[in-house]
């Protein structure tokens, strides 16, 4: 295969999880909402029979969604049929996709003769219909060029649909589906053409050579200079030539110097070159992809009920899709229920296939819901990686001199996030180590495989696992304790990452390494191995360790939150965040409780209509040049991005920043002045006059009371009443933006003056006692939108840093390997996590336990062939794709230690992805300890162990 295409647009590759929004046609209203549950399920905000949901502010007794979920109420998008959706017709039509299971021959036609006349579909949708009607894939450079394979063309990828069949009733749909399942004569193929995947997706290279001193500029780094971008020559990146002019040639010269140093290393250094492979997997979210769409031609309204992690983007792209077609469109009304995807429902073509089905259903609501075979066939996969690594270690000191890696991922047949996954993986490859010199290539290849996309870990699971296996093996070759070698090389606070950026906050990897080294599993592993193997003939014992830290966020995180204090002291929280399973609705409310001493009595999540926040966005946060951003930032209603999908482990830190800032704003600007006013009662300064040493920092808000400075406790209710009487800011809505640093802005706050806040837009609502002229300011949907007087956006150069926010986790795994069967039994495991300040410990430990299970599956069980025998053939299900069950994860023998925060003001960190990674290489290292063989390919299944032992 020789595919040549132009050099990748350098700026395009920089967007980590960027997504170019539709230029939605003018005049189309786009509404998005989280579906209000029916009365039966409205319990999600209520408490069960034996007490309130909150033990104390900040300490929930239950998840706020617990009752709805445990009683089987309709909560998931998948649970809703047309008759459950207000205003929809009662009758539900059903659709199914007919998929190509061959991607190297021309598609010649559909043969539905297996179906008797009575089971023939009511409507068949083909590519040619879409062309005739102007229906095209939105963002073809992301979602691929075809919805359905054109007749006479070779499918781009295995499992690509060739037609949509629509049935107006369920019994015929179900019967037809049974008749067509697994049939190999429904999709007809002709001439062999060879595979016809798209052009390869992109290549970037992240080269760094440190400067003379730790504070000196790097000799070369992505942050200081630039990442290097390339097109392809055949299947290989066509890297620029080295030179001394321009960032790319200079970077290539630096890469050449690193390669020469490794090639020319002498006896005083260990050079390790290893190739690792990480397999394709299916995240196997229990709720398979689904959508229910009703296009009403009479009104021109497109109604959607969709399982997606990115509802706002789906709504906008759906609007663009229909608007460009012959189908009239006035409004898009998207509803989402709860869903779960581990990233795989963040930007996928599936929702748009649902929209296409609806356009051809003659005004009927159509449900397109994957069964598990179909989910394997068309759901987003985790990228398979091929990784060629080299590590140069100084033998005397054990210090790493340099590391290089060529990380090539197979993105399958649609572009999706493959470029971003490739470089997020490559920039994470350094794991927890400081590297004086590094050269990491990120290569995103196209193929006929089922497409890969955003999946928990986003490329870093693959690359960091390889590094942690590499370092473990290096320690063995150097005869240095594997944790000791890590300690000699661990990245410390203030050191730069492989992009040349200093990570945020304190790096506590060293502390974790010391704890792991002192753990009995590690300290006693040699003696335990002897004892175990003596007591268990035929079984080999091993302990493995690994430690990683994982970025969280995307480099363009935006959120809106609103918090209001009523005159009775009750709080109302509204937020763009919506629930994906980790408990965001509970944790955001808990944050308010921690800061204000009372949890909101009313919450609303998934809010996307913010009339009081009249912002507009170009939504090109990664690619807008500095000069243009500076110019746009002068407009106080402009923001680089309005809101982010629920992804990239962004809820605790990034979405929480909006919540925390709103809560602190009310504390500063409503509660504090109102409390002072009450404490000053009695004339001449009152009790405060003689006891006036209290500052804002001395204020204590807890248990619904306001205290501090030796002054009498006030109830939040009386303080709130006073704040309203004084006309203070009792409601705040704010917008936040982070580009590996928070945007800040100055606002001229009434009564306070110019104030700098870590937000870029602000609206206030004043209490009833506000003066008429202040009340008159509330002219934006009842709020006072305060144009910022100055904006301080993080420089666009920070787009080059890859990441600065990390959460670390280490795992010690204890295994026994059966030498006859090759089965690996996990005897126990212990993990150590640092996550800043925990918001809800029960939710954190649940995330850790779940991540560990998913990592165990990746290390030992789950694997999909990429091509002809893989999931695109429509025969894969959990009978042959083995998921970890309870017995596989040592449910009774696992422990987690969470480092206490350094102070009570530490922010919470995002952990949802890092928690699944360390266990993967820890298990590989444990197997190596057990049987003396190092596997470089995952997963380590019993048959491979049997081969190794043979």
């Amino acid at each position: 295969m020789a595919i040549q295409h132009d050099a990748a647009d350098p700026t395009r590759a920089l967007s980590r999880r960027s997504f170019l929004k539709a230029g939605t046609a003018a005049g189309i209203a786009v509404k998005v909402s989280v579906l209000a549950p029916p009365a039966q399920a409205r319990l999600m905000e209520a408490s069960p029979s034996d007490g309130p949901a909150w033990a104390a502010p900040g300490r929930p007794r239950y998840r706020l969604d617990a009752v709805a979920k445990v009683t089987g109420s309709k909560t998931f998008s998948r649970d809703y049929r047309a008759k459950d959706l207000p205003g929809w017709p009662d009758r539900q039509a059903h659709a199914l996709l007919i998929a190509a299971t061959c991607a190297d021959r021309r598609f010649t036609g559909l043969d539905l003769s297996r179906l008797p006349a009575s089971l023939q579909p009511d409507r068949i949708v083909r590519h040619e219909d879409l062309v005739a009607d102007g229906v095209a894939v939105p963002h073809a450079d992301f979602f691929g060029d075809w919805f359905l394979v054109p007749q006479g063309e070779t499918p781009r990828l295995l499992g690509q649909p060739v037609a949509i069949l629509i049935f107006y009733d369920f019994p015929r749909f179900a019967a037809a589906k049974r008749a067509l399942r697994f049939a190999d004569d429904v999709v007809r193929f002709g001439e062999a053409t060879g595979a016809k995947p798209p052009a390869h997706y992109g290549a970037s290279r992240w080269v760094r050579i440190e400067g003379e001193t730790p504070d000196a500029p790097d000799r070369f780094s992505p942050y200081e200079h630039s990442p290097i971008f390339a097109g392809f020559s055949g299947d290989k990146p066509a890297w620029p030539a080295p030179g001394q002019e321009g960032a790319f040639p200079k970077g290539m010269a630096a890469a050449a110097a690193i390669a020469a140093e490794i090639d020319g290393a002498g006896e005083d250094a260990l050079v390790m070159r290893r190739t690792y492979r990480s397999q394709s997997t299916d995240a196997s979210a229990m709720e398979a992809d689904n959508g229910n769409v009703w296009y009403d031609p009479a009104t021109g309204i497109l109604h959607l009920m969709m399982a997606t992690q990115s509802p706002y983007d789906v709504a906008e792209a759906a609007a663009g899709l229909v608007a460009k077609s012959r189908f009239p469109l006035k409004e898009v009304d998207l509803k989402v229920g709860y869903t779960v995807g581990y990233g795989t429902k963040d930007h996928h073509i599936f929702p748009f296939l649902c929209v296409v089905a609806a356009l051809y259903a003659d005004g009927r609501p159509v449900r397109l819901a994957n069964d598990r075979f179909e989910q394997f066939q068309n759901g987003l996969k985790r990228h398979a990686f091929h990784m060629d690594t080299a590590l140069l270690v100084d033998r005397a000191s054990g210090r790493f001199r340099a590391m290089t890696g060529r990380y090539a991922c197979d993105g399958g047949g649609r572009p999706n996030y493959s470029v971003a996954v490739s470089f997020v993986g490559a920039t994470a490859a350094q794991s927890i180590y400081y590297l004086p010199k590094s050269d990491f290539q990120a290569i995103a290849l196209a193929s006929r495989a089922v497409e890969a996309g955003s999946t928990r870990g986003f490329g870093t699971l693959q690359t960091m696992s390889a590094t942690e296996m590499l370092v473990d093996e290096a320690a063995a070759l150097l005869r240095i304790d594997a944790i000791e070698l890590r300690l000699r090389n661990v990245m410390r606070t203030g050191q730069r990452n492989s992009q040349g950026a200093v990570p945020a906050g304190a790096l506590r990897n060293e502390e974790i390494l010391h704890k792991a080294a002192a753990h009995p599993l590690w300290r006693e592993r040699v003696a335990r191995k002897v004892a175990y193997e003596a007591a268990h003939p035929g079984r080999r014992y091993g302990v493995g360790f690994a430690q990683v830290h994982k970025d969280y966020g995307t480099g363009a995180e935006a959120a809106v939150a609103s918090l209001e204090l009523d005159a009775q002291g009750r709080l109302r929280l509204r937020h763009v965040a919506h629930e994906m399973g980790p408990g965001v609705t509970t944790s955001q409310a808990a944050m308010v409780g921690e800061i204000l001493g009372r949890v909101p009595s009313e919450t609303e999540f998934g809010v996307v209509r913010w009339p009081e926040m009249p912002l507009h966005t170009t939504d090109q946060p990664y690619t807008t040049p500095q000069a243009e951003e500076d110019r746009r930032a002068q407009d106080p209603r402009w923001t680089p991005r309005f809101t982010s999908p629920m992804s990239a482990t962004n809820s605790a830190y990034y979405l929480g920043h909006a919540t925390r800032t709103a809560a602190r704003f009310l504390a500063d600007h409503a509660i504090w002045p109102a409390a002072r006013s009450l404490w000053a009662r009695g004339g001449k300064g009152g009790a405060l006059a003689s006891y006036n040493e209290i500052t804002r920092d001395g204020l204590r808000l807890a248990d619904g009371e306001v205290r501090g400075g030796g002054l009498p406790a006030l109830s939040l209710a009386e303080v709130a009443a006073e704040a309203h009487r004084l006309g203070l800011a009792v409601g705040v809505t704010l917008h936040t933006f982070n580009r590996w640093q928070w945007a800040e802005a100055e606002f001229d706050l009434p009564g306070t003056g110019r104030t700098r806040l870590p937000i870029d837009a602000l609206s206030l609502r004043y209490g009833a006692g506000a003066a008429p002229e202040r009340r008159a300011l509330m002219d934006t949907a009842g709020w006072h939108f305060l144009p910022r007087t100055a904006a301080f956006y993080p420089p666009t150069q920070r787009n080059n840093v890859g990441t600065t926010y990390y959460s670390p986790m280490a795992t010690l795994a204890e295994v026994a390997v059966d030498t006859a069967s090759g089965e690996v039994t996990i005897l126990s495991h212990h993990s150590i996590l640092e996550c800043g300040r925990q918001i809800v410990p029960a939710l954190v430990s649940g995330q850790v336990q779940g991540g560990l299970a998913m990592g165990i599956g990746h290390a030992l069980k789950e694997v999909l062939p990429l091509y002809e025998d893989g999931p695109g053939d429509g025969t894969w299900n959990w009978n042959r794709y083995e998921l970890p069950r309870a017995r596989d994860v040592a449910p009774w023998n696992q422990t987690v230690e969470i480092l206490p925060p350094l102070s009570e003001t530490d922010p919470p960190k995002g952990i949802a992805e890092v928690v699944m990674i360390a266990v993967v290489p820890a298990l590989a290292n444990a197997v190596a300890h057990a049987i003396g063989h190092r596997f470089h390919d995952l997963p380590i299944r019993p048959e491979r162990i049997r081969e190794a032992l043979a």
Binding site: P48, A66, M286, M854, W878
Partner: protein
């Protein structure tokens, strides 16, 4: 309706209430009947192969309840039988208060689930275990094994199983009559 589809009436009890006779195509799974005919979507489609147990319901028999996989069991197999779905475990008081079953309460208090898609199956599996233990109590030192035996067929992708297991273990140990010394 199509001639290619044979229809037969179905009558059963669901959560204590009589259902039917309703005309249902022969070969329809009970899961599809719950979803498409009865609007009860709490029992979840996971694999459609009987692997993940997200779809299970309690089948009440004289010898006690059994856990049945509704995605691979035809609806007409349940003709005349009585089942309990996840929607039938809690009760609502006249004042609107929801009284959860002990298993549901234990899951809620232990933050046992995250996305909650598999939760109905775990509620069913754990409830069958509790009722089985009422008839055949086990030694306290066997509880962890018994809990794992009962719940191991259920797949969960979010939680790593730990909190589900702990919730059921603690409930069994705290409920008089389920264990012997």
């Amino acid at each position: 309706m199509s001639a290619a589809i044979e229809i037969r009436d179905l009558t059963l009890r669901v959560n204590g209430e009589p259902v039917g006779p309703i005309p249902v195509p022969v070969g329809t799974s009970l899961l599809d009947v719950l979803h498409e005919w009865l609007g009860l979507t709490g029992s979840r489609m996971g694999c459609g192969q009987g692997i993940c147990h997200a779809c299970t319901v309690m089948l009440d028999e004289e010898t006690g309840p059994r856990e049945m996989r509704t995605c691979i069991t035809g609806a007409h197999w349940f003709e005349g039988k009585s089942i309990r779905t996840v929607e039938g475990h809690a009760r609502t008081e006249p004042d609107g208060t929801v009284v959860l079953s002990p298993v549901q309460q234990a899951f809620v208090e232990n933050f046992a689930f995250q996305c909650g898609y598999c939760t109905p199956g775990f509620v069913t599996g754990a409830s069958v275990l509790i009722e089985t233990l009422k008839r055949k109590p086990v030694r306290r030192d066997e509880v962890e094994r018994v809990v794992t035996d009962a719940l191991d067929p259920h797949i969960c992708r979010c939680t790593g199983y730990v909190r589900y297991h702990q919730a059921v273990r603690d409930l069994v140990l705290a409920t008089p009559g389920l264990t012997i010394a």
